[in-house]
Symmetry: none
Subunit: 226 residues, 2 copies
DNA sequence: CGAATGCTTCGGCTAATATCGAAGTATGAA
DNA sequence: TTCATACTTCGATATTAGCCGAAGCATTCG
């Protein structure tokens, strides 16, 4: 009578309108906070909290606590695939929403001491896609080829590993809502970029000012799609 | 927020255990009567009637009356694709149970009307690696050499391209977690294999029974190049 | 013609669950 | 510290929806 896995459980999870709205909102690939998802679903915070707990238990979303916010994202690509399949049956359309303010800050800025914004996310994903780094659930891990790449970039890894602070750490990007590289390595890379004259910090804001040559060099070092 | 075409509606349809069992039973591609589906779902005939009406209204199944029987089948291939996607999500949770029947199903089975399981994935990747097919993000594309290969295999491509249904389509395999070939071409290939006596369908399950000669011929036609 | 089978509709019972108000924790800011 | 924000837990309510018994059509067969 029963063949294959039980699909009713996971389908029932998606079958609630509030949860379905949350999941579709997460289809952008960006992480959203619990309150944002509550607004997206049109329910109160308490209700949303219950829904999100169920989605987490069902393995459809992953969560990440950062400060007093809790960010949620789809657990993995298979979830998006399944959702797309359902959308094909419903003939649905996708809507987009996220509103950052300053365009310059959204493109690139400093986050404590490391690179953030669109370029920060690009650097991180470029490292991942070329096999220099592995996005472990716990923390990113620099591979052997990655260590070589970073050394050639001009960062002294041995000195960094002496420090107490973790070498690699992923940080959720404010505007992009995707992970970028933090930790002592992220800090060292930004420092190296400053030393090389690629970029200067703005005194008043978190904006970063790339020189024309620096921007070009960045694109060469961390190309967009691998 | 009650806007637009709802993914939750169709997901809720699949979300009921009885309906999910009916749909999985229909994944064989065979049409089943209402009473057969009632037994499959473990409910009475009245309950099944209500479920099937809902599935029909939701566009997931098609029905045709024949004498005093009413036969149901999946509405179209997209439904099977969506169901397989959901199975991929639910598969991870039920890793513990692997019966003898599951092993056979993992190796090869029928997905609506095309080949699935380990052999289905092998066929797909064999076509890709030999340059007969290109795995476009949108949908797989048959190359010129691929068209020649398929024609030699004994499938009339001209007749297929006349149909409204897409020729090539990728479907995510729930056991292998990789794509296999669906669409009218996938269906035609399986039909050809049946006509050639390579394989027979099981009446009760999604299992496929390859003859010894058929299995050998399959390995010759779609070698494991990877 | 009855009798039997396959399917559907109706009514009521029951269980599940989505929802929100209120109160409780945790983190960050003033 | 004190306050505000973000999120969670608890309790109660209400709507929903699955389920089956009983009865009603429709079709087929003896």
């Amino acid at each position: 009578m029963k063949e294959g896995p039980d699909i009713s459980r996971v389908a029932a999870l998606i079958g609630d309108p509030a949860r379905a709205n949350m999941l579709t909102a997460l289809m952008t690939g960006k992480a959203l906070t619990a309150t944002e998802l509550a607004a997206e679903a049109g329910v109160t915070a308490q209700t949303a909290s219950g829904h999100l707990a169920k989605l987490f238990d069902g393995g459809l979303v992953q969560s990440r606590k950062q400060g007093r916010h809790k960010y949620f994202a789809l657990a993995h690509g298979d979830v998006a695939v399944a959702l797309e399949g359902l959308m094909g049956l419903a003939g649905g359309e996708l809507r987009t929403r996220t509103g950052p303010k300053d365009a310059a800050l959204r493109q690139v800025r400093v986050c404590y001491n490391h690179l953030a914004g669109q370029m920060g996310v690009q650097m991180f994903s470029s490292l991942i896609l070329r096999g220099y780094m592995r996005d472990d659930p716990d923390a990113p891990i620099l591979t052997a080829s990655g260590q070589e790449f970073i050394a050639q970039f001009g960062v002294d890894l041995d000195a960094l590993s002496q420090q107490r602070a973790p070498l690699c750490r992923s940080c959720l990007d404010w505007s992009e809502r995707r992970t970028h590289l933090a930790g002592s390595l992220g800090r060292a890379i930004l420092t190296k970029m400053e030393q090389s004259g690629w970029v200067k910090r703005d005194d008043k804001s978190r904006a970063l000012l790339f020189s024309q040559a620096g921007a070009s060099a960045f694109q060469v070092a961390f190309p967009e799609t691998g």
